[in-house]
């Protein structure tokens, strides 16, 4: 049973996955029928507006497929993906434009997602430029004062000042680059921010800061956060709800406190137990040292 304890009657869902299945055909030899890999198997999920929703799973669980479907970068084999009340699963690219404005992404590797030849001002202004309604020539970086103000505003919101404007991505550290990716994502005031392993490439000491920043921005900038990660502790730190995926199947979802403290599915319990903790480590070390305080 996949008891969904996350559905809250009061909050209207901003993203709905309705029996979504995504299969990938594996091409066999010409005389064989290609077999299918089921990346997502009949997944139904509701993400309430204003929530910080975590999706956790190990390699091959279907996390990335889910992100691609919600971002309309891919279409489901069957089922519906509804964003802001619109079924996006069968739309053409042209019809998706309003969604593109409403939904922004932050990826794992900030160096891979920032154009190394663009100055930060252009990186952050680009989603504004593409949503301006007309083609703006590159020679004209800030057609209105409004843009300039917004770029400075979002950079300030992520903890960078205007001295960053004329610099290039390689002049920043990994954590700062991820701040720039976030500034770019929030610049067009999206209703939904999708973060795919957004802190997995960062050093532990920076990870907490970026997570705190995302949680804070979700409130101040007023967006719904969909945060996908393999790391349970990261999800617990930033999210208020979580869905657990395993091999394409949604095994459990609900409020963070419920799922983490009282997991219903054995896989969730196994996943939680596998996370090394300091307390567990101290206990093990005491056990090895034959310490009488050991509680094993």
């Amino acid at each position: 049973m996949t008891a969904d304890r996350s559905v809250d009657a009061a909050a209207e869902p901003v993203v709905v996955l309705d029996h979504v299945t995504r299969e990938f055909r594996r091409r066999g030899a010409p005389w064989q029928a290609g077999s299918a890999v089921v990346a997502l198997d009949d997944v139904s999920l509701q993400i309430p507006r204003g929530s910080k929703f975590g999706v956790v799973g190990e390699s091959g669980s279907g996390k990335t497929t889910l992100v691609r479907l919600v971002a309309a970068l891919d279409q489901p084999t069957s089922g519906r993906v509804v964003v802001d009340g619109v079924d996006i699963s069968r739309l053409q690219e042209r019809q998706l434009r309003p969604l593109r404005r409403r939904l922004q992404l932050v990826f794992q590797d900030p160096m891979g997602s920032l154009d190394p030849r663009m100055r930060i001002r252009d990186v952050v202004a680009e989603p504004l430029r593409s949503n301006f309604g007309r083609k703006v020539p590159d020679s004209e970086p800030f057609p209105t004062e409004d843009w300039r103000a917004r770029v400075s505003e979002v950079l300030a919101a992520v903890g960078l000042d205007d001295s960053a404007l004329d610099r290039y991505p390689h002049q920043f550290s990994g954590g700062q680059r991820q701040r720039i990716s976030i500034a770019r994502a929030i610049a067009p005031r999206p209703g939904i921010l999708l973060a795919d392993e957004a802190v997995s490439a960062l050093d532990v000491s920076t990870r907490g800061q970026i997570l705190d920043l995302l949680a804070e921005l979700a409130t101040t900038e007023d967006f719904t956060l969909l945060f996908v990660s393999h790391d349970l502790s990261v999800i617990r730190h930033v999210c208020d709800r979580v869905a657990v995926l395993r091999r394409g199947i949604l095994v459990e979802s609900g409020l963070i406190a419920d799922v983490y403290d009282r997991p219903q599915h054995p896989y969730t319990a196994e996943l939680l137990a596998a996370v090394p903790t300091l307390a567990g480590g101290v206990e093990r070390a005491r056990g090895r040292a034959g310490d009488p305080e050991a509680t094993i």
Partner: protein
């Protein structure tokens, strides 16, 4: 030290003193000194750029040539100083007395060679098994790492295996000659959390089996605590704190250690 030592460690297995590593004018590791007793398990922790990997690479004699090394690294039973030793002197130690496991098993393994041959290679190079004995030993080593159907694994290429299976193969190679010291540099960082738990258990068990000492690098204190007895905390190229895992985790002294503890649990500071 309250922890019982498997053997008396009057002369430590590994003694690093005043190790300094420079790249041009930048000092990356500054006056690092520590010892690892026989059979002792030492964790090395710090955030990116703290110098923990460089320290490990120096012990294995694998530092890039453009880095300048000063200080001394002594391995019990070897008459020479490993710091600044020639490749000719170091090669017989690596894979024989010092085993190594790195973060990314895909780059540690040769993609064009079947896994069985790669395990056999370390036995053949150090002449610990003849051509005829090697296949049986390979199967035994692979089975000892908990791999199902070791015969089939031995015939596989690395890309046909999962990340966890590959790291088990790397561990089989590292422990093939029962080394005195196993160096692990973030061995489980690239693995899924349930796989990580199994690989950590495996490292714990196999290190005990072959009676090796362990030098274990990680950015995650909780991971270190699973397998180590003692921990060294590095920051800015220096060791800022050291002590038993229990003491360092329960009564951290240095502010960097406190910060690392907070990061490990992602608690707000």
């Amino acid at each position: 030290m309250t922890a019982p030592q498997p053997q008396p460690s009057d002369d430590p297995l590994l003694q690093v003193s005043d190790l300094t590593i420079r790249a041009g004018d930048d000092t990356l590791v500054r006056g690092v000194g520590f010892t690892v007793g026989r059979g002792e398990r030492v964790g090395l922790i710090g955030s990116s750029g703290s110098g923990k990997t460089l320290t490990c690479l120096a012990v294995a004699g694998l530092l890039p040539g453009e880095l300048a090394v000063a200080g001394s690294i002594r391995l019990a039973g070897e008459p020479f100083d490993l710091a600044g030793a020639t490749e000719r002197a170091l090669a017989p130690l690596r894979g024989k007395r010092i085993g190594m496991v790195f973060q990314e098993p895909m780059t540690a393994l040769n993609p064009t060679m079947r896994v069985g041959r790669q395990v056999a290679e370390v036995l053949r190079v150090h002449r610990t098994a003849s051509r005829r004995e090697a296949p049986a030993q390979v199967a035994e080593l692979l089975a000892a790492t908990g791999l199902d159907d070791p015969q089939r694994i031995a015939r596989s290429y690395p890309h046909q295996l999962s990340g966890g299976q590959r790291q088990r193969v790397v561990l089989a190679i590292a422990l093939a000659n029962s080394p005195d010291l196993l160096i692990c540099d973030e061995p489980t960082t690239a693995l899924d959390v349930t796989v990580q738990a199994r690989v950590l258990d495996l490292i714990d068990r196999r290190v005990t089996d072959v009676d090796a000492a362990l030098l274990f690098v990680s950015h995650n204190l909780a991971v270190i605590a699973q397998v180590c007895d003692r921990v060294l905390v590095m920051h800015g190229g220096e060791i800022v704190e050291e002590g038993s895992v229990v003491d360092v985790l329960t009564q951290p002294q240095h502010p960097r250690t406190v910060a690392l503890l907070a990061d490990a649990e992602l608690t707000s500071r």
